[in-house]
Structure formats: structure tokens, C-alpha cells
């Protein structure tokens, strides 16, 4: 059974080789964006070495590390599930997938992992090499790197499940790209991938704490920079798991309902 999933992963990997050019483009625009972000933080920090945040202090070099690691993370934290599921439902391919002895969730997930492996090989290494040659980043302590890895994997799973759940809404909603974009915008702001939550005003911080998005980027990044105590790190990782479970259950419910709708409609 596992071999079948591995075959899917390999397939996706191979077809990705054809998109080397797009990978180069993504790399190029990521470097460009890093350049812009670092210039912004440099200008904001002008004259001061440390800025106080709602949880302590942060220096310019920490912000630079934050921004670069966030960029590296964005290579892994990506998913095309929404588009894929929508395409399968609209084209009717889904009916074929239902016959396969493979769970749809795992199938889409294998594709995502395949895409990710390609990106890890061709995007993370060059991005890391380029960014460390232009700027310097700091590295976490041993325990923090362990916690970071766990939080990172959780963040990736969390993001995948979010896109998967939204993708399943394609059973009911036609213009799913709008939700895709909406999700993307919300994540852009509330995940802390661009602006760390340390700088958020109270109002937005309250909203952010209710949403799961900060657990995708801000939590791993805070752990990486050693900005939070071990106990709090563990607590946040538990919160990640909680959301993963919630989303997993949600997806099961949506899937059952969606399939029923499809079958009734004779899709």
C-alpha cells in the first residue's frame, strides 16, 4: 500500500522537473522580496539596536533572520490542494478517484509531499546559499531546533489541512478561487510570515489569537529565535495538534457530505 503512495510522490516529482523554470522564477521573486523586507526593517530600526515588543526585545539581526527563515519556510509550507480538488470535481475526475482503493486525502497529500520534495531540492538550497551570502542569520540552540522542526512540520500539516478543507468546499461553491485568495490574504497577515505578531496592536492580536494562522509561521519562527520558553513552545505545539485534529474531523465531515451530494446528483 505504501508503495502506491510512493509511486504517486515519484510521479509528481518527475512532472515537476519540467517546471524548473517556474522554480527559478519563484526563487528570484523570493530573493527580491527578501531584499525589500530587509530594507524596510533596516529603515525601521534606524538608530536603535533593539526594539521593544509585546513580549520582550528584538534586534535588527533577529528580524533579518526572521525574514529569511520565513522565506525558507514558505518553500515547504505550500499546497496546491485547493486548485487540484476543484479541478478534479469540475472535470469529473473525482469519480475515477473514488473507484481507486486509495483515500482521497492521502492521495492529495502524497502529491503535495512530492511537490515539496522537489522544492526542497531545488529551492531551499539555492535560497539558503544566496541569502546567507548576502546577509547573516543566527541558528537556534539544540533543543530549540528540535522544537522548531516539530513546529515546522505541524505548521505544514496545518496549512495543508486548511487548504484541503477549503478545497472540499468546491463541492458546493463554484468560484473556489475566491476563497483561495481570501485564505491567502488572511494567512499573509495573521500568520506572522511578513510582520511578526510582536508588533501587532492589541485589537489585531486578539483576532490573531483566535485564528490558527499564527501557528503556521509565527510559532515556529518564535521558537527558532528562542523568543519563548520551552514550556510555552510545547503548549503551542499542542495547540497546533489541536487544530490539526479539528481540521481533520472537519474534512471527514465535509467529504462525506460532499460525496453524498455528488452521488445524489449523479456526478
Amino acid at each position: 500500500m505504501i508503495r502506491v503512495y510512493i509511486e504517486f510522490m515519484k510521479n509528481t516529482l518527475q512532472s515537476n522537473m519540467a517546471y524548473k523554470f517556474n522554480a527559478f522564477l519563484r526563487l528570484f521573486s523570493k530573493i527580491l522580496f527578501l531584499f525589500i523586507q530587509i530594507a524596510i526593517w533596516r529603515a525601521l530600526f534606524k538608530g536603535t539596536t533593539e526594539i521593544s515588543t509585546n513580549t520582550g526585545f528584538v534586534t535588527l539581526s533577529e528580524m533579518i533572520t526572521y525574514v529569511i527563515v520565513s522565506s525558507l519556510m514558505s518553500v515547504i509550507i505550500s499546497s496546491n490542494a485547493i486548485g487540484r480538488i476543484n479541478q478534479k470535481i469540475r472535470s469529473g475526475e473525482l469519480s475515477i478517484d473514488l473507484i481507486r482503493p486509495i483515500r482521497f486525502l492521502t492521495y492529495i497529500f502524497s502529491e503535495t509531499v512530492g511537490n515539496m520534495s522537489f522544492r526542497i531540492m531545488f529551492e531551499i538550497m539555492p535560497l539558503l546559499i544566496l541569502s546567507t551570502s548576502f546577509w547573516s542569520i543566527s541558528y537556534p540552540s539544540f533543543y530549540n531546533s528540535l522544537l522548531f522542526s516539530v513546529a515546522l512540520v505541524n505548521g505544514m500539516l496545518l496549512y495543508f489541512l486548511l487548504t484541503y478543507v477549503i478545497g472540499l468546499l468546491a463541492f458546493w461553491y463554484l468560484s473556489i478561487w475566491q476563497l483561495d485568495r481570501l485564505l491567502g490574504d488572511l494567512i499573509r497577515l495573521f500568520s506572522g510570515s511578513f510582520i511578526p505578531l510582536w508588533f501587532f496592536p492589541k485589537v489585531l492580536l486578539k483576532i490573531s489569537n483566535v485564528l490558527p494562522f499564527r501557528l503556521i509561521y509565527f510559532t515556529p519562527l518564535s521558537i527558532y529565535l528562542g523568543k519563548i520558553e520551552y514550556t510555552e513552545s510545547v503548549e503551542l505545539i499542542l495547540q497546533q495538534w489541536l487544530w490539526i485534529i479539528i481540521l481533520f474531523i472537519t474534512q471527514r465531515i465535509l467529504w462525506k457530505k460532499g460525496i453524498r451530494k455528488l452521488v445524489i446528483q449523479g456526478g
Binding site: F21, N22, L25, F28, S29, L32, F33, I36, A39, I40, R42, A43, L44, K46, I51, S175, Q178, R181, L182, D185, L186, R188, L189, F194, I195, F199, F200, P201, L204
Partner: protein, 266 residues
Amino acid sequence: MKAIALYRRFIVVYLKTRMEYRLTFFMDMFMQVFTYVISYLGIWIILNRFHSINGWGFYEVVFLYNLNLFSYGVSGLFFWSPMLGLGGMVQSGIFDSVLIRPMNPFLHLISRRFMHHFLGHIILGAIVFAICFKNLSIEWTISKVLWFSIVMLGAVLIQSSLMIIAGTVSFWFVKSSSLVETTIYGLRRFLDYPISIYDKWVQVVLTFVIPYGFVNFYPARLFLNKTDGLFHPSFGYGAPVVGLALFLLAYRFWCFGIKHYQSTGS
């Protein structure tokens, strides 16, 4: 002029078809607007915490950003689809049908589609300008108002030129329209904050090579009486001139690209 009347008819027909899908019409605009609302929230978060960047306060940065947004919206209304959808049109053969017609292909393409999505940009931009003007102390004389309109026109010309050039390049390399779009989006991001935050050579590139600086930074500097950045404040007056020159260049380039297409007789 016949061309204007013709254009108006095109637009009316186009809008009528779109309004039939009324919900989608408004959702399209809403989605565009929502993205920018999030962007403005981002600016608010940063400037609420840091108070200023290179001497630019919150409403000044919003003004800067909005100049970019608004001119982009107006340009996109006319030029986005014809220019960046060119690759697809070539592949589907629609482009050939455009070339056959006895109308200037450039004008025809522009009137074929009116990207109403960008109306959202424009409405949002107008609202934000109103908010900015209330909170910035600019003395509005008649000459200043006139000048603002001219500068805006220049900014629109610059944005349009870059869209046209991008469209022409993607037209040659049909598969890589993504390269061009990436470049446009990527470079426009440089304008989110005053370009004086960048190294000298970046400012030079943004002034003389790809003159995006004239879209928002130099005009804003003039209106807000700022003194940062490499070059003389009089650069603020450059927008319309640069815009016009660039537009002519872009049009030339586009015509050259079309001629090349015809001669290869695809």
C-alpha cells in the same frame, strides 16, 4: 471621433454581459479590494508601532502606496487583459482574427475587454485618497490640483507602458508570461515604501532604468515636501514627461513585436 464612440459601444456591451453575472461581478471587485485592505492593515501595523519610516508617517506612506494602487488600477482597466492575455490569444488564434480587422490592433485589443475588476482598485483608491487628504496638511491651490492630475496621468502612463512592454515580451515567449508577471509584481513591491530606504544603486535603477520611482515616490515627495532620497526634489515634476516618453517607447516596442509576428507568418 469615431474611435471614441466605437470604444464606448464596446464598453457598454461588455459591461452589460458582465452585469448579468452580478454577484460574480461584485465578488471580483471585492476580492481585489480585500487584498489591498489587508495590505493597508499591514502598513498600519508597522507604522502604528514604529511611527515613521525614513521620516514618512502613516498617512504619508498610505498616500505613497495609494498612488501606486490607483494608477495601477486605472492602467489595468485598459491594458491588463490585452497585454497580458496576449499569449493566450495567440495560442487560441484569436489574435489572428484581431490582426485581420481593419482597425488598429492596439486599439482593438484595448476595447475588447474592460477589466472591471480594476474598478475595485479605483474606488478603494479614491476613498483612501479622501482619507489621506483629510489627515495630511497639504494646501490645495488650483495649480496643485492641476498638477496632481497631471502627475496621476503620468503615473498611469508609466504603469501602462510597463504592462505593454511586459505583454510584448510575453508575446514573444508565450510560455513565460509568468516571468513577466513576476517581474511586474516583484518590482511594484519596491514601491510599497519610500524608495529612499534602499541602497543607492537600487534607487538609481528605479529612477533611470525602470522608472517606477516616478509613479509614486517622486510625486509624493513633492506634495509632502520631503527631502529624502538621492535626487533633487524637482524630479517630482518628471512623472508626466517620463510617462509620455515611456508610453511612446512601449507602443513602438509593441508595434515592432506585432510586425515580427506577422513576418514569421505563424
